[in-house]
């Protein structure tokens, strides 16, 4: 079998931590298929990222070009397809982030390769497990053809620990055609010092019962006290109480923190799909019949207006 290629997203400091679980999945797949693990980084000025990726792979392909500065599917997918051919890869993996979800299927199209989305386990070189039906079914899927593409569910694999010393190879980038697409701007909305939702040890989420955006202030206070990330249910995001990127669920982010606190969230199937993998789940809701209590390790029947300020005071007491 050929090499396993892992698409590593990066910033100017190095490989993004969200890509480290994909490297772990890649290593498992490389073991199953008997090929080497190769990392690929794309962008403008990706030297630090390439050096960082070399800690996790036996070879790194760096596509470094001013025309690749913006992460456009139109320009990046052809580089991934090129990297697969250059590495003689039989598999292309990447994290199922918003970037991975955008670019990997397009790369699969260019390669004529089948793709499994959001894999949670590697069964064999072309066999994976993945959730479907909002996490209510686990599928085992088999991909035909000579190359397989898969996006990796970040929470299903531990981050790669590193320890390799791969050789970095800077690839001469050919003509880049954005097909008339351009990135106009990126408005980063969550500028806070909070950890990313996908990586936070603690996530505090609010639901429809929070009623309006300004009521999330008290949840933010609890979140920061616990050093966590703020999340929300689809109902709260739909109602415009919080930006959509805070949405946890089937159609939002999938999280699996040590502690998940669901506040005024009923526990719709599609929300549970995004947080059922959490180690400890706490539900706070005034209605004891809500389905969220069926998955919660600890349930508190109370209004958020009463419970959250009391919880903040109690945690402060604990932390001295």
């Amino acid at each position: 079998m050929g090499a396993v290629l892992v698409f590593c997203e990066s910033d100017d400091k190095g490989v993004r931590s969200s890509s480290l679980p994909a490297l772990t999945a890649g290593a498992a797949l490389a073991k199953a298929s008997g090929g080497p693990l190769v990392a690929v980084v794309i962008g403008k000025g990706v030297g630090a990222a390439a050096a960082d990726a070399a800690k996790h792979a036996s070879r790194v392909l760096a596509y470094d070009d001013a025309k690749l500065e913006a992460p456009l599917a139109e320009t990046w997918a052809p580089q991934l397809a090129d990297a697969v051919k250059r590495a003689g890869a039989s598999a292309l993996l990447g994290t199922a982030s918003s970037t991975g979800k955008d670019i990997l299927p397009r790369a699969a199209a260019l390669l004529g390769a089948g793709m499994a989305s959001d894999i949670t386990a590697v069964v064999a070189a072309n066999k994976f497990k993945r959730p479907a039906y909002a996490g209510n079914a686990i599928e085992e899927v088999e991909i035909g053809g000579s190359v397989v593409v898969a996006s990796v569910r970040q929470t299903a694999f531990p981050p790669s620990a590193g320890g390799a010393a791969g050789a970095v190879e800077t690839v001469a980038v050919g003509a880049v055609d954005a097909l008339g697409a351009e990135l106009v701007a990126l408005h980063a909305t969550q500028k806070s010092a909070r950890p990313d939702l996908g990586e936070a040890k603690v996530v505090v989420s609010g639901g429809r019962g929070m009623r309006e955006g300004k009521n999330f202030k008290v949840l933010e206070e609890l979140t920061d006290l616990l050093g966590g990330a703020l999340g929300a249910s689809r109902a709260a995001a739909d109602a415009g109480m919080v930006p959509n990127e805070l949405q946890v669920g089937q159609t939002g982010r999938v999280v699996a923190p040590q502690l998940y606190i669901a506040v005024a969230i009923s526990g719709a199937i599609q929300h549970l799909a995004g947080m059922k993998g959490s180690k400890v789940i706490v539900a706070i809701n005034k209605n004891p019949e809500e389905p969220i209590f069926q998955v919660a390790d600890y349930g508190l029947v109370d209004t958020w207006e009463k419970a959250i300020p009391a919880l903040i005071a109690e945690v402060k007491k604990l932390k001295g």
């Binding site: 793709m115 502690l259 419970a307």
Partner: protein, 273 residues
């Protein structure tokens, strides 16, 4: 402006799945239009309207793949206001994203739309691939997971916002293009065709319901049956589901009586704070 919008039927996501022999039993499923596709239809319609209930310009063609029964969902889309529909006969249970993308590509080549609008994912397979594969096969630009779209007055480009993990990305694509829509797209002012709808044009904060008039009109609209052979498409999937299983179930835990008890349990028992 001619817009092709894809529609998939899915089993009602609120119903509990029945497993048997490594398969999911959908024999008794009640089918409905995938939510994101409903949003895609709403988006396509708004792009041909001057505002809620305003004048229309352009054509919206709905496309689905599946058995005859899917006519029911397509009738609903025609009742919302789509102009006509195409139903490609096939077994929707065995198709994967690749089969669907190949079928849509063949229809695009026949219909030559300016824009293809898809839901970002179907809530049964949860793959989130068809739009991107389609764009890759066509060599068209793509804009996925849209929160808003503004069509330029000359109809030659669209400026969109996409909700990404890091925030909101603003992207411009030349037409023809493939776009996939996310939840926010049904915001009051999220969709607008410049030159057709003024800056103050707005719609309801939800996909529209079919009116009685719409339902009556839909009966006279065309649903064209097309076969895979007529399209010359090989719809063989590249991904096969070899087994299904139920996910591990979480056990309900305990109810605590007070915040003090909760914090004590989280600290001493679960050791997570």
């Amino acid at each position: 402006m001619k817009i092709l919008v894809t529609c998939k039927r899915v089993p009602n996501p609120e119903h509990k799945l029945k497993f048997g022999g490594g398969k999911i039993d959908l024999g008794a499923a009640s089918w409905q239009l995938n939510t994101f596709d409903e949003y895609a239809v709403e988006t396509a319609l708004r792009l041909t309207e001057a505002g809620k209930g305003g004048a229309r310009s352009g054509e919206v063609v709905a496309l689905s793949i599946g058995p005859k029964d899917v006519q029911q969902q397509l009738r609903g889309v025609l009742a919302m206001g789509a102009d006509r529909a195409i139903l490609v006969g096939g077994d929707d249970a065995t198709l994967d994203a690749w089969s669907v993308a190949r079928v849509v590509k063949a229809v695009v080549e026949r219909e030559k739309p300016d824009l293809v609008v898809l839901g970002k994912q179907a809530v049964d397979g949860d793959s989130n691939q068809v739009g991107q594969i389609l764009a890759g096969l066509l060599g068209w630009p793509q804009a996925t997971f849209l929160a808003s779209i503004r069509l330029a007055a000359d109809g030659k480009s669209a400026t969109v916002t996409r909700e990404v993990d890091a925030g909101v990305e603003e992207k411009r694509v030349r037409l023809p293009a493939v776009v996939t829509v996310d939840l926010r797209i049904i915001g009051k002012k999220a969709v607008r065709a410049e030159g057709l709808a003024g800056a103050d044009a707005e719609w309801d904060e939800s996909p529209r319901y079919a009116s009685l008039k719409g339902i009556m009109a839909a009966k006279k609209k065309e649903i064209k049956d097309v076969t895979l052979a007529e399209l010359g498409v090989d719809a063989a999937p590249t991904m096969k589901v070899t087994a299904y299983e139920a996910p591990p179930q979480r056990q309900a835990g305990v109810k605590v009586a007070s915040v003090e008890e909760l914090v004590a349990k989280l600290h001493n028992e679960a050791k997570v704070i």
